[in-house]
């Protein structure tokens, strides 16, 4: 029988400098060594990663800059002066993209959630609504965005109906919302269906109505489950807002196009492209963070 009962000796220090919780003695030498080793190991792997990235970058740089066509490519695509000239116009255009993104994104969320809920309604009374929602999703998810843009952007104004705006900004946003809400509705629906039926049963057994159950119990869990997927769609939306340029809206892409048309230098496209990338990076990192947090949440909990 080798069971011991031993309180750890040593002074009871309050919160140690190394980030311990209050009331604990300072970490032992063993623990300090372990921490030092972990730090060293993570430094080493960071170093290896940095080095391999650097090597790759240098090799790629050398291959590209030594290619026979490089001097031509450099002046037509990477001309600093052309970039400087085009930058202010493109940035102004990008502001339009951002507006479409924000307004469109919000509309997509609301519409997508509504359609998803319609599609999950059960019972014959809701059959027409369900059918309508299914048809909507089939239509706009299958239709290439560019064609939806043309149909909405040029077809709607051609009807010359009273009150139909003909600003390419509004029409472009509308087309994007149609397409993306169909996608997002499917994401939401997958989320709703991923909530275990026992959750609904538990809520109904507490006396909540179908509607209350959906709103208070099912939807919050569904939204939580699909947030990473939604953020991914948001990143896709960020670059697709550039497509409103086909309707003539002077956004970043259109502004670049105008410059290219004047100078026959393609650098403005590169500038616009890089600006879109910069716009997407923060959302991509947020998406990563949200996904990581969701993973951690699932892993913790005191059930072993």
């Amino acid at each position: 029988m080798a069971l011991r009962r031993r309180r750890r000796a040593g002074p009871q220090l309050t919160a140690s400098l190394t980030g311990g919780a209050p009331g604990l003695p300072a970490p032992s030498q063993l623990e300090l060594d372990r921490r030092a080793f972990r730090t060293r190991r993570s430094r080493r792997s960071t170093g290896v990663a940095l080095l391999s990235t650097l090597v790759f970058a240098v090799v790629a740089y050398l291959v590209v800059t030594r290619s026979p066509g490089w001097p031509r490519v450099q002046t037509t695509f990477f001309s600093l002066s052309a970039a400087r000239d085009a930058f202010p116009d493109i940035l102004r255009g990008l502001w339009l993209n951002v507006q479409v993104l924000v307004i469109g994104g919000l509309l997509v969320l609301v519409l997508g959630l509504g359609i998803a809920v319609l599609r999950t309604l059960r019972g014959p009374a809701f059959a027409p609504l369900r059918l309508l929602a299914t048809g909507y999703v089939d239509l706009f998810r299958g239709m290439p965005l560019i064609i939806t843009l043309y149909l909405v952007g040029f077809g709607l104004p051609a009807l010359r109906l009273q009150g139909v705006p003909n600003s390419p900004f509004v029409l472009g946003t509308l087309a994007i919302v149609l397409t993306y809400s169909a996608y997002v509705a499917e994401v939401f629906r997958a989320g709703i269906e991923s909530v275990h039926p026992s959750q609904r049963a538990a809520a109904r057994s507490l006396g909540l109505t179908h509607r209350q159950t959906t709103r208070i119990v099912v939807l919050p869990q569904a939204v939580r489950n699909v947030t990473p997927a939604l953020l991914n769609d948001f990143v896709a939306l960020q670059k697709d807002v550039g497509l409103i340029s086909v309707l003539g809206a002077v956004d970043a892409v259109r502004a670049a196009q105008i410059q290219v048309g004047q100078t026959f230098n393609f650098t403005p496209y590169v500038v616009a492209g890089l600006l879109f990338v910069l716009l997407a990076v923060p959302s991509a990192r947020i998406a990563d963070g949200v996904a990581a947090r969701a993973r951690r949440r699932q892993q913790t909990g005191s059930v072993l």
Binding site: A2, R5, R8, G20, A21, P27, R34, R41, V303, L304
Partner: protein
């Protein structure tokens, strides 16, 4: 006697909440140790630390004398040597009972499928579930699922078995059949650490009972002593509450 599992001064906190403040516990080969203690006293946390599902903040866990809390140690290799059964059964729902049991022996330990299958069937036979081998877990009762989970852990011939309140999600009638499987394992010389609220069972099966309180093993010893005639006032208090609840 050499200790299979030796926990030395393990400290673990979650943020400000210090759950373990220096736990010592040593489990010899063929020994059954029962961990008791109030809800939130850190029983699960201790078992998670021992199976390397949590990183300790200080102290050591030795498995067969090897310090497994050393970051140089391959945690997967360590976990292969321990069997763990969770409170919720965690059988894989997309596999049959048999596939659940032979998964680790074939995929992790590289045993031949027919070999692993024969042993799995023999194990299932022993717990009276041989006829359920081809069934999917969601068509089994809770007690049956939990017995399969124990067999799944046993199928890799672990050095020790960690059981975390394996009966607390079960009907009283089903508790008996699960505990019978544990008792059999103990009789055959398995080394077992179990967190449990079943004091009666701890009394029957355990060689040692440890009372975990405020982050330390406050009292430990043979079940008759710890459960029957505890030294510490807090142990007495804990037990009297359990007696009041009619669980001893």
């Amino acid at each position: 006697m050499s200790a299979v599992l030796d926990v030395r001064g393990v400290v673990k906190s979650f943020g400000e909440n210090v759950v373990l403040r220096g736990v010592d516990l040593s489990v010899d080969e063929h020994q059954v140790v029962a961990l008791i203690g109030g809800s939130g006293s850190g029983k699960s946390t201790l078992l998670r630390c021992a199976s390397l599902l949590e990183t300790v903040d200080d102290g050591q866990v030795l498995l067969d004398g090897e310090d497994v809390t050393d970051p140089r140690v391959d945690a997967d290799a360590v976990r292969r040597r321990l069997g763990v059964v969770f409170q919720t059964y965690n059988l894989f729902p997309h596999m049959t009972v048999l596939d659940n049991v032979v998964l680790a022996p074939t995929r992790v330990h590289g045993r031949s499928r027919s070999d692993a299958r024969d042993e799995a069937l023999a194990l299932l036979e022993r717990i009276g579930l041989a006829d359920k081998a081809g069934e999917y877990p969601d068509r089994l009762s809770g007690g049956q699922q939990q017995r399969v989970a124990i067999v799944r852990a046993l199928a890799v011939h672990p050095r020790g078995l960690l059981l975390d309140e394996i009966t607390s999600a079960l009907d009283p009638e089903l508790v008996g059949e699960v505990l019978r499987v544990v008792r059999e394992g103990a009789a055959q010389g398995m080394t077992i650490v179990m967190a449990t609220h079943e004091m009666g069972f701890a009394k029957q099966v355990a060689d040692t009972v440890c009372f975990l309180d405020q982050g330390v093993v406050l009292e430990s010893g043979p079940p008759e002593q710890v459960l029957g005639d505890p030294v510490e006032a807090r142990t007495r208090q804990f037990l009297s509450r359990i007696i009041d609840a009619g669980r001893l």
